[in-house]
Symmetry: C2
Subunit: 151 residues, 2 copies
Amino acid sequence: MKSTIAALKAIADGTRLRIVKLLLQYNYCVGALARRLDVTEAAISQHLKVLREAGLLVGEKRGHFMHYDVDRNALRALGAELEELAVIKREACKPEEEGCEQQRRGRCRAHEAGGECPEEVHFACHGPNADEKENGRNGHCECQESQKGIR
Amino acid sequence: MKSTIAALKAIADGTRLRIVKLLLQYNYCVGALARRLDVTEAAISQHLKVLREAGLLVGEKRGHFMHYDVDRNALRALGAELEELAVIKREACKPEEEGCEQQRRGRCRAHEAGGECPEEVHFACHGPNADEKENGRNGHCECQESQKGIR
DNA sequence: CCCTTGATTAAGTGATTACTTAATTACAGA
DNA sequence: TCTGTAATTAAGTAATCACTTAATCAAGGG
């Protein structure tokens, strides 16, 4: 989760994305990357550090040259994580589990049909206010796909 | 390409990733997001703008509430793009196409076997220097998987 | 043991970013 | 039309970031 963000941050940079793409194809050392990308070696080294610490690269010393490889599994995993987000579905309201009040939801649907939205269901959109939060309401059941059209 | 980076930058932020995850599940309006995430509405609005301009969200006005939905296709496409990177293979050297000198590569392998790396193949790792670049050498063929172990 | 070269680190700079508060725009109801 | 509320935008600030140059570390070859 936190490492996901670190990895996303690491690859969400033009120069670093170019580095990753180059290293996927070629086994360049640091100096070669610098020349190919027309960036100073120091800058490349700093970018490599970011990518390495994000788990996207692994380094290997050969002679006194340093070569970096992309951790393809980490890259795949990162992509998969985003794709998996995309399949999250709007949760259906389960009032019996969540302790929500069906009456209130019913009233929301009435509003959807053109009726008026009573004051008690305002948090359908806005979530619980401070008092409601203390009363354990989480405001989530009122904002489902099933009630699309409500506020 | 450029939009890829924008989308990655947009989602590579803790607060914005939380927004996306919430919006995948719930149909909150801006104020509800602000309350759920304990962030000011102004801050949320600015994050929503970033996500919207990156193509990850679409907004819809209902009454005078603003609801945002995640563009799941965009999210999927972004994840797929990262996964597709991971399958890029190290390119085999094609000297006939690239104008590289096989003799030189041969000498590199000799070095791999424990021999000495002659000065002329130094760019095997480092890419072309200024003069070589003018002579059309791209320094790429010498740095392939096939020559792993060379500098 | 020095000298050269590759790579990293240190320090400093300008640009960008995430946030705050305040002002503004947009909209619905009285 | 006026009022109150939702949302956005403006303006300012502290922190982070990508880059630069210079110094340092590491590793061979003479």
